[in-house]
């Protein structure tokens, strides 16, 4: 481990890379602060601009956007009562009442310090855990890997969206999208229909930018945000010094809430599909129920802000643990980051540490630098972010549409990639409208090649005999968990159907 440290530090501690990390955090912060925009959109749009960067710089820049986005979403939640992202909904519970009470600066500082603390905590957990897990994962064969992938997709489908079936369908469609191109085993072209552009498969950025960014713009347009947003202006913040600053005693009092939030965020971030929103809700509930004065919550308790923001930010590095260790993303942003890893010639998974140890440690250092940048950007940029959230959608959305076009072009597919991106944008709009989970769709697409290879190898190794699973207890465990997810959520679907039917009959009677 230590032998990689010196070259990793040499790669990261250069003015150029530090500038990229700062820029990434700043960009993420701005996007996170803007209501309706999200960090996955920013990552998808930023990936093409990283092609010429050093892999460690590129990935640190993208992770910086992710971290900045998680922290920045608190700004509009606190100042406008409009969360920048769903994961900051909980921050509005106490953040906005603090703003109304003239303590906006204190709320923003609480959110910032909690975000940085949660982020740092989870980054250290990532550094400590990823390599040991990867060492263990090296021993896993294709049968185990195939069952882990099956479990990941079914579990993400089970916890995302209202309908398990629709989420599963989206995941299968994502996997199917990875099929066109040269077949990995036989070398024969498959589903290319004579188009040379499809020989390398469907470009990741056309899928990601289309389904995540362009479709989101179409949804925003559809919501009727015409002629600018209708959010209230932040109340005048003319509070006294004591209400603006966060004293040492106050910071110490918040420490247990931050620790609880960091623990919950790290735990939830590790698991596929659960996401930051659930983490911030759970952390908030835990801190409120363990408080001696729970009645203060919802009326401007800084502990509530600290818990939700530390949990939200802790999920970002924690979600990278399965990516680094076994090569399985559990969320949209990690799926995109995994795509970015592959575009830079790195293969996430157990062999990453062996084959690209130096780059991994450069990324670790880059992540720690991004945490420091988060603090700096948050402290010195708050006035700017308060202004940024007032920019009209009629200015932001058209520029993003243009960036979608440029981004899809830059991946190398030329205008073919741009037209594909448009197509995925239109499909993504309907997926969002009809609640087909685009999380499972994108994760399925990214995992497709690995899933195909491991499933094919498993079938060949086992001679198509399922009885060999008895000799693979880890594979059996994950398959059992996958079956449990399907059973649990299929039953939930049937129950909700029964309840809907009963309530319909009841309303008919009355």
């Amino acid at each position: 481990m230590l032998e990689h440290l010196a070259p990793a530090a040499a790669a990261i501690f250069t003015p150029e890379v530090i500038a990229y990390i700062l820029l990434g955090v700043l960009l993420g912060y701005v996007v996170g602060a803007l209501p309706g925009m999200n960090r996955t959109t920013a990552i998808a749009l930023a990936i093409p601009f990283t092609f010429t960067m050093h892999p460690a710089a590129a990935l640190s820049f993208l992770i910086g956007i992710n971290k900045g986005g998680a922290a920045g979403s608190a700004v509009s939640a606190i100042l406008l009562n409009v969360p920048g992202e769903p994961s900051s909904v909980v921050t509005t519970y106490d953040g906005y009442p603090m703003t109304l009470a003239g303590r906006a600066q204190k709320a923003l500082k609480t959110a910032l310090y909690a975000s940085v603390a949660g982020d740092l905590f989870a980054t250290f957990v990532l550094i400590l855990l990823a390599q040991p897990i990867a060492r263990f994962a090296i021993g896993l064969g294709p049968i185990e890997l195939a069952s882990i992938l099956v479990f990941s997709i079914t579990f993400i489908a089970a916890v995302s969206g209202e309908s398990f079936l629709k989420a599963m369908i989206a995941g299968i469609l994502g996997l199917l999208l990875s099929a066109p191109g040269i077949d990995v085993e036989t070398g024969l072209p498959r589903l290319t229909f004579g188009l040379l552009e499809l020989y390398d498969g469907i470009p990741l950025l056309a899928v990601a930018i289309g389904t995540l960014a362009l479709s989101e713009i179409l949804v925003q347009v559809d919501k009727g945000w015409r002629g600018g947003h209708h959010y209230p202006s932040p109340p005048d913040d003319s509070a006294e010094a004591a209400d603006r600053a966060l004293s040492g005693a106050e910071a110490r009092a918040l420490a247990p809430s931050v620790l609880r939030g960091s623990l919950v965020g790290t735990g939830i971030g590790l698991l596929p599909g659960l996401g930051a929103t659930l983490a911030s809700f759970l952390a908030y509930t835990w801190v409120r129920t363990s408080s001696k004065s729970p009645e203060r919550f919802g009326k401007g308790a800084p502990e509530g802000v600290a818990a939700s923001e530390s949990a939200d930010n802790a999920t970002v590095p924690a979600a990278l643990i399965p990516v680094f260790a076994i090569g399985v993303p559990g969320s949209l942003s990690t799926a995109l980051l995994m795509g970015a890893f592959m575009m830079h010639g790195l293969t996430p998974g157990p062999f990453l540490f062996r084959e690209s140890g130096e780059v991994v440690f450069s990324i670790y250092l880059g992540m720690l630098l991004a945490s420091a940048a988060l603090l700096l950007v948050g402290l010195f940029g708050q006035k700017i972010f308060s202004m940024v959230i007032r920019v009209r959608e009629s200015v932001i959305l058209p520029v993003i549409v243009f960036l979608c076009v440029v981004g899809a072009y830059m991946e190398g597919g030329g205008m073919f990639g741009v037209y594909l991106m448009l197509g995925f944008g239109f499909v993504g709009y309907f997926m969002k409208k009809f609640d087909y989970s685009f999380v499972t769709f994108v994760v399925g697409y990214v995992l497709g090649p690995m899933a195909e290879l491991s499933i094919r190898q498993s079938i060949i190794l086992s001679n198509s005999n399922p009885a060999v699973l008895i000799d693979h207890p880890i594979a059996l465990l994950f398959l059992a968990l996958a079956v449990f997810s399907i059973w649990r959520f299929a039953i939930a679907g049937v129950r909700s159907m029964q309840m809907e039917g009963e309530s319909a009959i009841q309303s008919q009677k009355t």
Binding site: P180, L188, V395, G425, K433
Partner: protein, 149 residues
Amino acid sequence: MNRADLVGGAGLTAAGLLLIFVIIPLGTEEGMYFGLAPTFFPTLLASCLTLAATALTLQAWLRLKKERGRRPGPIERWNVMMFGLAAALALGGVMMIDVFGMLIGGPVLIAAFMLFLGERHPVRILVTSVLPVLVVYVLALHVLGAPVP
């Protein structure tokens, strides 16, 4: 949503069957190979898609039978109209970029979207449509050395 799920499920079932029996066999080149056929994985996925879509169709149909009265769907006529206009604008803008390049097509795309979103301030439209295009052009070509349309 149940009506939309019924239509969506039926459409996806048909798409799954089309994939299994027409698209995958036609879209895969024949050749010598050992082990599993190149059509194996997509056919497996298309079969799973057909099964899941059939289950969704059945579920939606059963729910519709129990449901009394029509509930509003997730998409109204106004949504379709707005989507159609935005999609047409995006497609038109991309075609402009394709034909005339980014430096001409880019500002047109941005300005058209701004007007569509209700922006009427001429200076704001001019600055927003020209500045980002120039920044991206300089950044991509002269800093990153990346291709632009």
